[in-house]
Symmetry: C2
Subunit: 160 residues, 2 copies
């Protein structure tokens, strides 16, 4: 096991950012999964999938950070530096596109249904829940983007 490398960012801060990310994604997934009819739309299905995959990845990273915090060693030494770097990038892009696909559909769908005179209370409640879920996914994305900045900054200190 290599000695603990210096990090650009305190592991405690990194851990808090991961926990906030996870919280946003968890509530987003719960809200969307309990919204009747969401799975009739590809955009909302993709939104749910991105939230679930993001949660799995964030749990893994939280566990790795907890291990580092408690033992002072990184699991896998510095071999995971590129995994963190590319993983954070890919996951944050996925969450960004998940939230954007959801908003892209829900905003214009509300307007279209209003124009057609089909904007009843069922549609309103459905789209409200979809918007809440997309907003929480977007918050999860913002914090995953912060993690991505951290892993980019700490990469050179771990691979040099």
């Amino acid at each position: 096991m290599a000695p603990p490398p210096s990090m650009a960012v305190s592991p405690l801060v990194a851990l808090i950012v991961r926990i906030v990310t996870f919280g946003g994604l968890l509530i987003s997934v719960i809200v969307l999964a309990t919204t009747t009819g969401f799975n009739e739309s590809y955009a909302f299905r993709y939104m749910l999938a991105s939230g679930v995959i993001g949660m799995a990845y964030t749990i893994l990273q939280t566990a790795l950070t907890l291990f580092y915090l408690s033992t002072g060693n990184r699991l896998g030494g510095d071999g995971f530096a590129f995994l963190d770097f590319f993983g954070d990038k890919v996951i944050s892009y996925m969450l960004a596109t998940g939230a954007a696909a959801g908003f892209g559909l829900s905003v214009d769908l509300a307007r279209l249904l209003q124009a057609q005179g089909n904007f009843n209370s069922t549609a309103e409640s459905f789209l409200q829940k979809a918007n809440v879920s997309a907003s929480l996914l977007f918050i999860g994305f913002l914090f995953s983007a912060i993690s991505s900045v951290f892993s980019s900054l700490s990469l050179p200190k771990r691979v040099d």
Copy 2:
């Protein structure tokens, strides 16, 4: 002016990636802007805006890379290292969300109009053009993400 720093990636490769990004965005913007009725949708308007802002940023970065290639010096020395790093991140997230918002709307809108029996040839042609534009924006995003990897990797060599 500081001496030319070592870069993780050849400036010629960086330049080619910028040019491909710009090409994708340019055609995406042209296709969408010439599609009658795109501006009735918030998703497609955001898509156009992200393409235009992405083009402006990519032109700036192309010019800076050309200056570096021809003189061996970076304009502004290494003071622009963090501008590249954060600029590439922000712009690539913007392009990803632009393409995702467009696809999120166009895919489900086609299905909704089909279900309603309103999927006539005008709607089909409109959504086809929107999909072509979103696909090209997505290609622009992929290459901007490559630029973001490059600027992340070269950051430490420029700010140490």
